[in-house]
Symmetry: D2
Subunit: 369 residues, 4 copies
């Protein structure tokens, strides 16, 4: 995930943007096919010093200017007049937003893979323990019997629902941005938008969206909610792993969970990663929400704030999913301890509709896939 | 909207919950029809001192206990054995969550009404000015010509998309909560859930959701995004209304927008309301996201924090929509000023595809309704 | 605390502002002493329909306009020419900001009283258990022995340090605001500022601060930090009160902590209140921080957002302090359970410097008072 | 600033921690002087593959374990028995917290340098324009005359006050953390704490603070407030630079502020950097506030979340200060435009006490240094 939002991937996305723009303009007759081919070749083969480019971009306040300057130099070596036609009609934010959405798309496939690993493991856990009684706890006090499967089914539905929300938000957010200097498509047309979107694997928007940030905000919130759903599992597992409760434990992993002071300790490191992510995510979502009131046709500061925040949300969510995927996959459930704690709480043995609810949840999950 | 989340509405929702619970249990044969009828009559007619009840609820840490105590006393006057059967199988959070969702449902109909008023006004504005040229501005600097309709169409799509997200989130969130002491439906069955949900006009969940808060979090985020989309309009209108720009103004409303120090001033009070809401909403959404990692079968503190925050988000969103609805409905656009500022910026007259984009946006909006 | 930020208190503060303004102007020779006296009498005795005033203020976008209108009418009955001289030189935000700071000052005395009750109780608890061994827990796992006093001393220093930060922030924030229409003191002078500040018990600023909101932001953050320090105690107590740990419990309070579903339960309701506050506070602080970038001499939306958010932070902090004050005052510590859990963890009996650290902490706390 | 929080600086701080710990223990007679010297030499000269170490730290869930393992190997080559004595009595969080505070201390000196550059430039600007009349604007509408110096003096006091708050918070936060496995100083004594603190240039705490995070939270909030105060200047400058207002402009910097679509544009890139930082900071502060309710003697997830968030706040604050320092240093004020806009607003020429207020603010600022 770090790679998906790294400088290399950003440069790749930016070059893909320029190549697709030229190709689409050629198909619409706005530039010649030969020009588009030269631009495409240069974008495919350009060697760029990324550290130098990043520094210039920070100085210029935009990546597009130093990158397009480099491309023009390279194109001019092959075809003088073509040099001016790269980036034609587009503006910095077109490139920045589209590149961010290409990175988000790559990030999503990593998220989905980890999330499905986790939900599949949760479904197995729920099935295995559909009828294993344990003490249900409310307000951190023993309440009534449930089954361990019911607890796992709740975790499952929490993550699965949050993943579906995220997928839905991607439908609305993973959209090409192309509008030109003021979002009017001056010198372009909607055919270019549709062709570029198709070529890059993004949706075409009804209109350029450079000053409408609800899509990015929706993505950020959905990531934060997914992280929260994973953090809820981590909260529970870490509480179950307390020495006095001792009902479930993270799997032992060589070199993980140790203490530099106490050799006897086995720390819930996977839960730590997920809880830490769940603590950070709400503020990051708020940062993106806080930038929505952007000025006029292109804001000052608001959208520029989004890239690093969104990248961080993707990384935290992915890290939390991966950590808890491994935890749930190898979760050690101590059935005698479950029984012992339940008996000690003296709240009877009626697990109500727990097993039926587990079956319902699993059916809901299967249908959903 | 204040009424929708007020104490009266909460009490009404709570009484509806208890009546529907009894009726559904009777239909499932868990209690007698006569008992359900007595409970229903008492819930329909009970006179409760709300201030006193609120104080007792704060002391008890839950509304259900003092309310159910009152209902039992009233029911016992009519039918002794029935008194124990009110609230049977349910727990405090079942009542609290379901009542909150009933209030949210009422709140939603107010939101939808205001939002549609605003989007309809925006659609009219976009249509009227589809071809009215003006200066497009980016990074707070003059950029290229657009049309005023393009600006309005952007506002329109921003609000409309955010409204549809909110409606989608309501589908997943306006759900009955009934699980009993530990969410296992002990002493109940899923038929009761389905019957109650239908009676109260809420969806039935695949499983009780008392410790899965993604639905509430989704609602909160969608409200914050909608507020942000409305705040974006307010940002733009207030910038256009600056004395040196003077391109558009809030309508004059008797007694509104005055200054206690300067009689000549005409303050953008509608924009102020919306911008203020947009500043407050992100933190409120973060508060709800921050409570998602709830403990075990029912958390301590997390869900109890949600009610007032969600109520505030509904109120802020509604207030922002109402304020900007009135602003857009009566917006005074000064076409000569648009022309003058555009000419002075000396950026040509090519509005690109602005009018075509407006038509696309309007078609997208109409299809969407 | 609800009263301190209620409509009555706001009206009282607003009337005090107007009376003090007139009196200070008279002392500086800007208006006559007779005029100031009439204004003062009307402000002292005015009967105002608060609900009606609140509605008009919401419509006008400011409280000052309808309030000053009422005052002028009342003053005109006594002294025609004096009517125009009420609110002279001031503007709406002068009144709004100063009134908010007067409310904050009243709120602070309630906070300090509750906080000192809590810290005194914590100091007693730390002293009593300075040498009572228990299991220290890290990352929710048993670690090494400590004493219960060490835990309590940590709680104590957490709250005490946060309280001192809040007091420090009050020194910088509880400041008169008076600047007039554009913050230039036009028609006024600095003598008026100093006299008014002294009369109202607020500090005088080096300059009007209507567009510098760091004082309010500092107050908000300090409240959130204090709430977090109290929430940390609630987190620990609720973990200690878990059935399997059973080392400490909230005191039994008649009618508190019950469950509507399970008669056997004893819920940590005080901890719930504090944890709920700690979940809400960070987002509220972020809301106020998010409004700091205010426009020019007086912002649009940013400062108007602060009042209700600050009021909420005061209420949440006060509620958390009161709840945990009662919890710590009556905390039931089960020493045999402490011993049993420590022995079972098998981590030796060396409590290190725990008792010495407790003494250091108590000395630090005493010196601090 | 990126270097101050980079991996190299973290490693350096961690090695300094271990060396200072050994030296302090030797001075207290807990280990031999020879052992401390060997440890000190190894810490001074150790070559560590940082990328490899970072990977192992991520796996282990803590930096201390793989680092101490490396140190032990290196020490064993020189002095077998000494190997076990590195990190003696300390735990992972002791190293992590202390290293973070050492990095924060380095970060602070960069912040202070940039902030003083900015405030000095602001003081000059205020002095130069103490009597330059301009239009004061409130709620984005022309209000009354002020002087440009009054505006600059407001900016100055905003940044200066926020800087002093940050310095105050550093007094309380830049504190050594040393407590051992459960914060009891087992195997250590307070003399070690005091000696280490002195050696590392940090304050000594009254007690180990590993589970009291108010210091870190105070730092985070103070950074966010400072960023907000700088963002307020950026908001104003960007509004003044609008084409229709044209009263002040960022200095022209070669290669900065250009547009990839429009050669005529001169974007306020410094303001963009500061506004972007001001949008991100509130959520980051909320993230740290949200982690304060840490469990028992050492939390799970809360403190681990702080490091990257605090680093980001330092970087954003520093970037905003540097950007606006350059903007204010070279700010182009167009006095005729100030005059023209003021005349057009037709609000008279009375700048009230503006110049006197500027003098007060400058005196306040000078006294403060």
């Amino acid at each position: 995930m770090i790679a998906a939002f790294g400088d290399d991937a950003l440069l790749r996305a930016a070059l893909d943007f320029e190549a697709a723009l030229a190709k689409a303009q050629a198909a619409e007759g706005l530039i010649s096919t030969e020009t588009a081919e030269v631009i495409g070749q240069v974008c495919a083969t350009a060697k760029v010093d990324i550290a130098e480019l990043a520094e210039e971009a920070a100085h210029a306040g935009t990546l597009a200017i130093p990158l397009v300057f480099r491309l023009r130099t390279l194109i001019a070596e092959r075809d003088g007049p073509a040099a001016k036609l790269v980036h034609k009609g587009a503006t910095s934010q077109d490139l920045a937003d589209t590149a961010l959405m290409l990175q988000a798309k790559a990030g999503m496939s990593l998220i989905v893979a980890e999330a499905q690993g986790l939900t599949d493991a949760l479904a197995r856990l729920a099935r295995t323990h559909a009828e294993t009684p344990m003490l249900g706890r409310t307000l951190l006090q023993g309440a009534l019997p449930i089954t361990f499967g019911l607890k796992a089914a709740n975790w499952l539905l929490g993550v699965d629902t949050a993943l579906r929300r995220l997928e839905r938000e991607c439908d609305g957010a993973l959209v090409l941005q192309l509008g030109g200097g003021a979002g009017s498509l001056a010198g372009l047309n909607f055919g270019v938008v549709e062709r570029m979107a198709a070529a890059l694997g993004l949706a075409a928007p009804p209109m350029p969206w450079q000053a409408r940030r609800d899509g990015v905000a929706g993505l950020a919130c959905a990531l934060a909610i997914l992280t929260g759903a994973v953090g809820k599992i981590a909260r529970d597992v870490s509480l179950l792993a307390q020495g006095e409760v001792a009902e479930a434990f993270e799997p032992r992993v060589e070199g993980r969970g140790g203490s530099s002071a106490m050799a006897h300790k086995r720390n819930p490191t996977g839960c730590q990663v997920a809880l830490s992510a769940a603590i950070r995510a709400p503020g990051l979502a708020a940062s993106i929400l806080g930038g929505m009131t952007q000025e006029h046709e292109r804001g000052l500061g608001g959208w520029q704030a989004e890239g690093p925040v969104l990248a961080e949300l993707f990384q935290l969510t992915h890290g939390a999913l991966a950590a808890m995927g491994a935890v749930i996959e190898g979760l050690e459930v101590d059935a005698p301890a479950l029984h012992r704690n339940l008996a000690r709480a003296d709240v009877g043995a009626d697990t109500g509709e727990s097993s039926a609810l587990v079956r319902r949840a699993l059916a809901h999950y299967r249908k959903d896939r």
